[in-house]
């Protein structure tokens, strides 16, 4: 071992330590920025160390790749609006996973397919996970971007077909471990994994995206970790595992927040016509209220709680929400925000949007913190949220979302629901909240409605 090799290994060790410190920083908003700078420095060290690698004979393509990638990365980083964060993250997962898959393919080609059993096992995992995450993330991106319908796409025998596809892919994988060397079979495995990624995300509806995003996050990390096993590179194993586990923990948290299992999310095709039929007929009518009534209620309230959902993101209404909150705050009304873990399309989606609109994070409350507050809340304002405030989850054991923890806005003295139209939400479920006596409906574009409410409150 010469000095150079020591330096490379040292840079990897430093990077691994800095990554862990970086993630540790994320345990509090105050320390998060510094933590990320540590992680960025770690990444830089790992890259510098790698550039000194003895095997490298030419830098041309490395530098062009680094330059082009940085340009696109900067463009995506600086210009993507916060409302498009789920799409951007999905796209980024695809990029990372594709890189891992390509490294695997290149390694396989380099050894002409003749790898020992251990390396081949790791390489198979790397290529399969990388490939299915690439296409799965691209489809998730297309769904979130609205290029493909957000509803689950199902057909008869879907689960059986998917299982057969997965079994075939894994079968080829095992064959390749035992009898190494077949190029066509290797590419068949990679190709099937690409197809499986699409099949896996197809039946998943937009409302379940937080779970899928977390899972894809996890797979992308595990693909990187497998790359580490193939190349015998520890920093890849550590960084990939951190990512893999982070995604895994998030998926579990998201599933718990919907009281569903991961298998149910992946294979349940939730939100399709079949499930909405069980919802049952709803009695009563929705009561539409006037802007001025609401304005007076808000202006003379002691406490108001805003409950945002994906509708706030689509209407880009976060700034209007904050304006209304500021206006109320000036009148001495206590304003809080109740955030459901699965509100939006990815974990923490609502928090980021409200932070973008300069809402201080100390006003954002989690489910367990805000629920006891609703009985002493004068007005709860639901902005484009539906399932996360559906009292059926609590009251009706027959409901498809029974047992899902909800924000209990119906316990507030009065509820205002801002909604685009009278239609059902993404899950296709009827929401009894809208028919309750305490509930008033305000139809229309959330941003416009909120802006008009601000004026109305100022005049009240």
């Amino acid at each position: 071992m010469n000095l150079r090799v020591y330096f490379i290994e040292f840079s990897y060790l430093l990077a691994s330590i800095l990554f862990i410190f970086g993630l540790k920083g994320l345990s509090h908003p105050e320390t998060a920025k510094r933590g990320m700078h540590l992680a960025e420095f770690g990444m830089l060290m790992a890259i510098i160390g790698t550039l000194l690698h003895l095997e490298i004979v030419t830098y041309t393509w490395i530098i062009i790749g680094l330059a082009l990638g940085s340009l696109l990365g900067l463009a995506l980083g600086f210009w993507v609006p916060m409302t498009a964060m789920p799409q951007r993250t999905a796209l980024s997962h695809a990029f990372g996973a594709f890189a891992a898959a390509l490294v695997g393919v290149a390694e396989f080609l380099r050894h002409d397919g003749h790898l020992d059993k251990i390396t081949m096992s790791a390489l198979g995992f790397e290529v399969m996970l990388g490939a299915l995450t690439t296409t799965g993330s691209l489809l998730a991106f297309a769904k979130l971007q609205g290029m493909v319908r957000g509803q689950p796409m199902t057909y008869r025998g879907q689960n059986i077909f998917n299982m057969a596809l997965l079994a075939t892919t894994v079968g080829i994988f095992i064959y390749l471990i035992v009898f190494p060397g077949s190029m066509p079979l290797f590419f068949a495995m990679a190709g099937l994994a690409f197809v499986f990624g699409i099949m896996l995300v197809m039946p998943i509806g937009s409302a379940d995206m937080p779970v899928v995003m977390s899972l894809l996050n996890s797979y992308a990390g595990l693909a990187s970790a497998a790359t580490g096993f193939v190349l015998g590179n520890n920093v890849l194993i550590i960084a990939g595992t951190l990512d893999g586990f982070s995604g895994f923990i998030l998926s579990i948290l998201m599933c718990r927040a919907m009281n569903r299992s991961i298998t149910n999310v992946l294979f349940g095709a939730f939100g399709s016509a079949a499930t909405s039929a069980q919802a049952g007929e709803q009695q009563g009518t929705m009561r539409e209220v006037s802007m001025d009534d609401i304005a007076v209620q808000l202006a003379y309230a002691k406490q108001v709680v805003f409950v945002p959902g994906y509708g706030m993101a689509t209407a880009q209404a976060q700034h209007a929400v904050r304006e209304l909150a500021d206006t109320l705050d000036k009148r001495g009304v206590s304003v809080k925000y109740g955030i459901h873990p699965v509100a939006g399309r990815m974990p923490g989606h609502m928090n980021v949007l409200l932070a973008e609109a300069n809402v201080p994070y100390s006003s954002l409350y989690e489910l367990e913190q805000i629920n006891p507050e609703f009985p002493i809340t004068d007005v709860a304002v639901v902005i484009g949220a539906n399932d996360v405030v559906n009292p059926d989850a609590r009251d009706n054991p027959g409901s498809p979302i029974a047992g899902m923890p909800i924000l209990e806005v119906d316990r507030a003295k009065s509820v205002v629901v801002l909604k685009r139209g009278q239609g059902k939400g993404f899950s296709g479920l009827e929401n009894p909240l809208f028919f309750k006596d305490v509930t008033g409906m305000l139809y229309g574009d959330a941003k416009e409605t909120l802006t008009r409410l601000v004026q109305a409150v100022q005049q009240a």
């Binding site: 393509w61 990638g69 490294v103 201080p360």
Partner: protein, 102 residues
């Protein structure tokens, strides 16, 4: 990869998983989106493998694959870190209210 190497690698994997679980379960839901984009950027570490393949001259195919991989992984790393920074800068405490919690 030899058996000894595999054992060492599995140790590292297990310990990283343990540390990851400890560290990440302390991240509040408030920061789950930055967490996801940060870990996503960190998993772009496959860049390290891509760079070696793109530069080691094992024939045209390997170089092309390596080049594309470097490009994708760099996009992932740079984009992920830039956006995480951008998000974290937005998280602000209430103005005038100092360290009341923590």
């Amino acid at each position: 990869m030899t058996h000894e190497n595999l054992i060492t690698a599995l140790y590292i994997f297990a310990l990283a998983a343990f540390v990851g679980y400890q560290v990440i379960s302390r991240v509040p839901p408030l920061l789950h989106t930055p967490l996801m984009s940060a870990t996503n950027a960190i998993s772009g570490i496959s860049l390290v493998g891509s760079i070696v393949i793109a530069g080691s001259g094992h024939g045209t195919v390997a170089t092309v694959l390596g080049f594309i991989a470097v490009f994708c992984a760099t996009t992932n790393v740079v984009g992920g870190f830039v956006i995480t920074d951008r998000m974290l800068r937005m998280f602000k405490r209430k103005p005038g209210k100092k360290d009341s919690e923590k």
